[in-house]
Symmetry: C2
Subunit: 272 residues, 2 copies
Amino acid sequence: MTTEKLVAEIERKKSFLCIGLDVDLEKIPTHLLQDEDPIFAFNKAIIDATHHVAVSYKPNTAFYEAYGIKGWQALARTIAYLSTNFPEIYTIADAKRGDIGNTSSRYAKAFFDDMGFDSVTVAPYMGSDSVEPFLEFQNKHTILLALTSNQGAFNFQTQEDSGEALFEKVLKVSKSWKNSDRLMYVVGATKAEYFKTIRNIVPDSFLLVPGIGAQGGDLQSVCKYGMNPQVGLLINSSRGIIYAGQGENFAEAAAHEAEKLQQEMQLILDAR
Amino acid sequence: MTTEKLVAEIERKKSFLCIGLDVDLEKIPTHLLQDEDPIFAFNKAIIDATHHVAVSYKPNTAFYEAYGIKGWQALARTIAYLSTNFPEIYTIADAKRGDIGNTSSRYAKAFFDDMGFDSVTVAPYMGSDSVEPFLEFQNKHTILLALTSNQGAFNFQTQEDSGEALFEKVLKVSKSWKNSDRLMYVVGATKAEYFKTIRNIVPDSFLLVPGIGAQGGDLQSVCKYGMNPQVGLLINSSRGIIYAGQGENFAEAAAHEAEKLQQEMQLILDAR
């Protein structure tokens, strides 16, 4: 999907909500466990109940790998379901991959060509030639980890080298890579005080922002400092939406939480 | 597997060779493509022909993910084949994973418990709480990327902050993490001049060293500066061994290349 189409969908739905499909069989309603594919059954119900207020879905691959072959089958079915029924929805493989060049090409092919994701998250540690194979794919985005939402982000990412933190260096250096216009960046909502610095370096890029809800990030602060004229934000919520309800009405509970976030987003968009 | 068992096996075989099982269906002998599971057929033949001179095998997960469900099945069969027939062999999932805590736990469970790998490679960018869930597993190792073999390593890893490069910081900081005695580190053979610095920081840790062969690294230099009293090195070769031959005798050709490396290693070990 092109950035233009994503922006158009954000404006149409008045939403920049991304829903994280991090399926844990110990947390989904027990009646679904009878289904032959409980992971897909859960995802389908969540998607059906929330797609009117979400512009993107983001399965984290760890939750699928943890269930082996069945997990990968459920992931493939989920993406196929989305692209067949909701081609306007932007899909993100939260995979945090990255390897030497010829190996990164393999990952890129798997996520973009074979599974059909619109984008994939990638770790920056190995540098340019580990990321550029992902950037070769037209109408796909590579979402580079910049400043993550967890506490461990302070170990290396915020460490300064002559006044410049590692995440700033990652943002700056990555702009020089081939096809860098296909880059987006992960910036945690729990690090709202850094958004101003980040927007100085990458004013035009989309930012994928996890950490709202369960992790404690605040939507208003993120938007105040992170929004750009094209909106430029995809705000992700996972647990706060998909596990909002535990019983038979779990999908309605998820829809309710997603709608609340969308309404907050609409107010912010209308106030621009 | 414990570090002690790995060291004992290195001394018994007079080898610290790890063979990278990076299977590409476009590169394996064409007669194998008739097999119902060509990836496993290739791996089995390589393992059968080389296990007498190798102490470890390292499938890179990208090559399996690229073939979807069939790839994951072939990977699971390969690891099951190794652990059933060669329990003395040390297995490495070269996956370069890493995520926020509860998500890293999923990856750790998948690779250690479900697939039964002895170790997994992990990226350090997200810091302590992204790595510690891997370190909780007893008799398993977490192999942290420190200084990788590719050109992109110079983008961030060697960048200095008041005289200390990022990879040095990764080595130092990681030593303070819980269960850090279960850490090993990836250090590329193409960066031999850094081994002295690295051994000053982590004198006792095992280093997984890719980049010999196709990528241009030199075994003698790596051993000169990288070896410790417990050997402390696993030298990986992938393409140089597994694609040494193209025809029906590909496994013999692989064995020949592996034996050459083992003999070089034996000379180095005997000269200690």
